[in-house]
């Protein structure tokens, strides 16, 4: 079942690793230059500080499901890292190292992989990450990329989905809905926007911005945190379920980019994609209403807008209300993976 057939359009596995991936591991001795069978993470070295524990996350993306085959390879690489980094951000973690498992169809050539590793390198530098190890395989199916990230947090001070309390405010970072609208823009499903607006939305879909600096600063401020990957309403339902509370979102408070506002002005029904479409990779958290001022100041300090979009209430339902306080009926509350 191993095909064993050498592919003439790109170098073999060992050459690929030596030429493209080993340089990404060169800065970190624990990777053994990708020439051994495992990587080593010392616990008494430079990387992990005393009193820290590790955070583990794995997430995979599949061509045609989570990204477009024709997306720029460097952005595919960066999105792969960033969807995982966004989870680390929501837990206030400092990224350490990552491992890759990449399943390559024959259509992926050496040039594609060069650009892919350029994207990895860019985000390793941006986020202080090291490549620790990985696995490359052939697949008769679509390009499939799995990453496992390890991060560090202060032990005993976990930020979880549980912990939200009735009376808390519901806060988000950045702007919401750009990712879902960006996918529609790429697909040509958004009419009447300017090329610049379409490009801005598409960029937000292709290159999410993990809020690591903000996440680390939420420790001690937020009662419950997560990142929005599957949609604001659906992910808030996860926080509410874990915390055994309900929530009300006021749609008018949900922060929108200029491009998203323009799209909604032409087609108000797009509010459903904004609230439930996912791919935001912004932080969603519950914190005391009284912290609103401090959070605003923190957002200004970090250059990341923070908005209160609603409140935690007793009960177990998450409702979204329109400008007149009427309940929005949302068919799409969050992305279903299948």
């Amino acid at each position: 079942m191993r095909s064993g057939k050498p592919d003439q359009t790109r170098p073999g596995e060992f050459e690929l690793i030596a030429r493209l991936f080993a340089p990404l591991a060169a800065g970190w001795p624990g990777a053994c230059g990708l020439t051994d069978d495992v990587a080593y993470l010392p616990l008494e070295g430079d990387l992990v500080a005393p009193g820290e524990e590790l955070v583990l996350k794995t997430d995979a993306i599949v061509a045609g499901v989570h990204f477009l085959v024709e997306d720029p390879p460097d952005l595919v690489a960066r999105k792969l890292l960033r969807v995982n980094l966004s989870d680390l951000a929501a837990k206030g973690a400092r990224p350490l190292v990552y491992l890759l498992a990449i399943m390559l169809p024959a259509s992926i050539d050496f040039g594609w992989l060069v650009r892919f590793t350029e994207g990895l390198r860019a985000d390793q530098q941006a986020f202080g990450l090291h490549l620790a190890g990985g696995d490359t395989d052939a697949t008769p199916g679509p390009l499939t990329l799995a990453a496992t990230l390890l991060g560090a947090v202060p032990a005993g001070r976990r930020m979880l989905r549980e912990g939200a309390r009735a009376g808390d405010g519901v806060f988000v970072s950045g702007t919401i809905g750009d990712g879902a609208l960006g996918l529609k823009a790429i697909r040509g499903e958004l009419a009447g926007l300017t090329p610049a607006q379409l490009a801005a939305l598409a960029h937000r879909y292709r290159l999410p911005e993990p809020r690591l600096a903000l996440g680390a600063r939420l420790r001690g401020l937020a009662h419950a945190t997560m990142d929005i990957s599957d949609g604001l309403v659906g992910d808030l339902e996860h926080i509410c379920e874990a915390s055994r509370v309900g929530a009300i979102i006021e749609a008018v408070r949900v922060p929108l980019s200029e491009a998203a506002r323009a799209a909604l002005a032409r087609n108000p029904a797009l509010i459903e994609s904004v609230l439930g479409g996912g791919d935001d990779y912004e932080l969603l958290f519950a914190a005391p209403i009284s912290a609103e001022g401090a959070l605003g100041a923190l957002g200004r300090e970090l250059g990341v807008p923070i908005a209160r979009v609603g409140r935690i209430v007793a009960g177990e339902r998450v409702q979204a209300l329109d400008q007149e306080g009427r309940r929005l009926a949302l068919a799409q509350r969050g992305y279903r993976h299948f």
Copy 2:
């Protein structure tokens, strides 16, 4: 490009996680019951001892490449864990936790997943592993399964591929070639064997035996270690390259199962599959010739045969010699992943 289409033949993602995977994480609090975004690995708890460092490994398997779509799902699960555990064994590591990323085509139904998780449970218990977290996604391609394992080893006493010295013996555990011959047996390519012999070989292909107990005991005895996944000759070349030495394998010394002996008796050309076919998941290591007696005793203690199959020499070539000392010309020295 998330499909977003609910699949009627199996429960949704969250229900799958709650019903099938959360029970596998229930024994270990760091997994947060699979209800949060990450897992937490405490470094001052029960799992990691003072003075240890972590070992990290990721490996993926693809239906139609690394296993057969019709293989029993529990054995697929166990092979997925065991190909990674075998790397941990070669480094003398104690397994701790694992993460899964599973990409499911529509053809995989709930019953398949039930049996798959039964296999995970069996090997969690057999090897003291905990499920820490994971990711499930739909794929339009073949079933694709990635696992990342974390283990622990005493810090500062790494067993690497490098370290073999001219004059060392080359040793292997168990029997060699059964995995590669097992695949041939499954494909109906082995003539003249008994059903029991065919079944024994197929079983070795489907369910490798990671040599964790042996690996842990090789610390201090072996100069260089790895596991044989791509073939004895090809993997010995990896040790020799890292150690800057050469090696000679005497084919007559390579330990064979009764079924492999029967297959070779009928078709001596199968020696090429035995020496270069891979899927052995036995340990391969260089150790002083003078340790041969101690290693034999260790093997008897652990119930794992240990055989010396050759020796490390100066140079950089790995040669296999036949019974008369003539060099075997091997077209297939090791598995190429693509």
